[in-house]
Amino acid sequence: MSGRKHPARWPAAPHARLALVSGVVGLALAACSGTPSSSGGPSSSTGGSFSLELAAFSPFTGPNAPYGYFQYTGCVAAVQSINAAGGVMGHKLDCAIVDNRGEPADAVPAASNMLASSPHLVGIVDGDSGLMSATVPLFNQAHIPDLSAGGDVQFDTNTYPYFWRTTPGDDVAGQTLAAYVKFGTSDTRVAAVFGNDQAAQGNVPGLLSAAKHLGIDIVLNEAIALDQTTYETEVQKILAAHPQVIVTESDPQTAGVLLGGLKQAGWNGPIVGTSGTLGVDYDKAAIAAIGQAAYESHFVRIIQYAQQSGIAWDTWKSALLASGSLVKDPASDETAIYAELPYDHATMIALAMLAAHSSDPVTFNPYIEKITQGTTVVHTFAQGKAALAAGETIDYVGVTGQVAFDKYHNSGGLWAAENPVTNLPESLVSAKDIAASEGH
């Protein structure tokens, strides 16, 4: 996931750094008593047999809390499917919440504690790019596979063997914006209006360099302060530059005021948002500012894309519904890419274990790649399990599409310009377009 680490405004989320464990004491106690448990995961120990743990290591408090929720939802749905199909080698799977609290001083102790106190931890799904550089080395040192949805650019050239990523870094997100403008529209004059936080600004270098390669004109590149009561001066600047399309990312509150200001000043043109604008709060704020009709017609979100049809999709949907109260809002979560990614990640971990005939992370880690390179294409855990039992090699193509890891353990995805409310794609941004934006 592209890191949506918007700076915690005061006192948005003052995290006592002393709270070094959040869901993890549950695991620590569990380690003591021998009964796996988690704060909220499906309870799964059955008479003597232990559950294999997957940890959703994400922010569950603070401004990025919605992304932690997505991670957990995806994990839970996958585990639901996996357990329904008989689990892995006689063991059920279990999802644990590990709250990294969105800030380094709590994330690192939380990670260390999780690693030290979970004997049956087999994999991690994570998605907070702001903290990856601090926590991924720890996961790697502990030899636990980490399948990530985080966008930290440093990991474009990752060398940690236990790190895998099926979403591109934030710099590619920026390039994709340019690619969309060039190949998906007829516009050439772009105003870039990004919040002055790290996550939003992470898009800018990719956007600028891609724009150069593609020959589009960035007429304005404005970093705006977040959560102001009015953006009048910024809006005037934007309009004075005469853009044809505005590209933006910011937190929801800022977006509400900014979009409202733009509308008020007479802007009626297209607005392109990044994947960082995904979320109910952003939609709420935008709709409050410009109305749903305008939001749907003028705003597109460039985001990694997952097909909304096919066996994988159907299984994903029913898994969500079958997860009961653990999933807050199946109808809206089903199109959330940041829930779909961990769903596929958890499924891949389970399939890798099956393919390697081992739940030991050191043994099955290489199989994470192998299960995307086999001959038999499968779309669900159940299919994969059956194919492996029949002695075949599989290629898992989940709800987020074909995975192809490069030598850095990165795999790009499909991108699309989506309607912000329905998440239906209005046009696709092909890999060829993205390659062109990189100057190839």
Partner: protein, 325 residues
């Protein structure tokens, strides 16, 4: 006791030590000298950043994902010493701005705003300390020197923390019992009396601010080296209130009170709420922590404003300079 629990407890002990140093430092400023330092967290943050910037390699060495000034890649213990120095030095401009003879609550407000400005600048100027994302990959002391497991390293770090705690205790105690300490208390009670004696209250307060700042810096340096990462979201202004609450609850003006406060507030309240079964949405317990801290603060301000271990009154008998202990 399982390995996981030992790991957790040893980590907790390290944090307790780090908080002890910080709280004793604040006690020098607030408890002894009566400075309403609402910007205390900035001192700890400065120490943390200093240790980080001294210990990290130059920014280019990590690709381009972090931008920051400095990066001198100094070995232990120089980053920690740097942290202490920076914490103390920061006191000078802060003192110049806010130690003026302002009314108590005005002074508090000025300090609070300084804290906000510090956070704002750190976030806005990304070239300084990598902005809102903060610093990561900070090298740890003795890393790689001994071939130990993570738990083993915890014990090493705990040893280091204990040594620093002892040092902080020695400094704080020394100041408290010295004539300088007596002067600070006098300034706290009556500035005019101290002036009448020919001493400069402003200089005395400034010295207390520097000493406390140095300890805060040490605490920050240790914290950053333990966690290996540091960012503005870790030092927002309410963290100062946490330390102040600890002092008010434990008792200011004495080391035992500070220690008790460190045990009760940062470690105690938060850990107690951990024992509750998870309910509500995942972040709810975190919010309730702060409600509990506020409630605790209020309760103590009402029932026991001097804290659990009040400052001992110092009595001089028969004109001798012997302190009654």
């Amino acid at each position: 006791m399982s390995g996981g629990l030992i790991f957790y407890l040893s980590g907790l002990a390290i944090l307790l030590g780090i908080n002890l140093i910080a709280i004793w430092g604040l006690d020098l400023q607030f408890g002894l000298a009566g400075i309403n330092n609402f910007a205390y967290i900035v001192f700890q943050a400065a120490g943390g950043y200093a240790a980080a910037l001294f210990a990290l390699k130059p920014a280019k060495a990590y690709g381009s994902f972090e931008t920051y000034i400095g990066g001198f890649n100094l070995p232990f213990p120089l980053p920690l010493i740097g942290a202490v120095a920076v914490g103390g030095l920061l006191a000078v401009p802060v003192g110049l701005i806010a130690l003026r003879r302002l009314r108590a609550d005005y002074q508090a407000m000025a300090m609070l705003v300084l804290s906000l400005i510090a956070t704002g600048l750190a976030e806005a100027q990304t070239g300084l300390v990598n902005g809102p994302a903060g610093l990561a990959l900070i090298p740890q002391p003795f890393a790689g020197v001994f071939p130990v497991s993570p738990l083993g390293y915890h014990w090493i770090f705990l040893g280091l923390t204990a040594v620093c705690c002892a040092f902080a205790w020695w400094v704080a105690r020394g100041i408290s019992r010295s004539p300088f300490g007596r002067l600070l208390r006098a300034v706290r009670e009556s500035e005019s009396a101290v002036s009448a004696l020919g001493r400069n209250p402003y200089a005395l307060r400034m010295t207390a601010l520097i000493a406390g700042g140095a300890l805060a810096g040490l605490s920050g340096g240790l914290l950053v080296e333990y966690v290996t990462a540091w960012g503005p979201s870790s030092w927002l202004y309410p963290e100062t209130f946490l330390f102040l609450t600890a002092l008010i609850v434990g008792g200011k003006g004495n080391l035992a009170g500070g220690a008790l406060g460190a045990l009760v507030v940062p470690i105690g309240i938060v850990e107690l709420t951990r024992r509750l079964p998870a309910f509500g949405y995942p972040g709810m317990i975190d919010s309730l922590d702060w409600v509990a801290i506020g409630a605790c603060l209020l309760a103590f301000l009402w029932f026991r404003p001097n804290g659990l271990i009040p400052e001992r009154k110092r009595v001089f008998r028969n004109g001798s300079r012997r302190d009654d202990r």
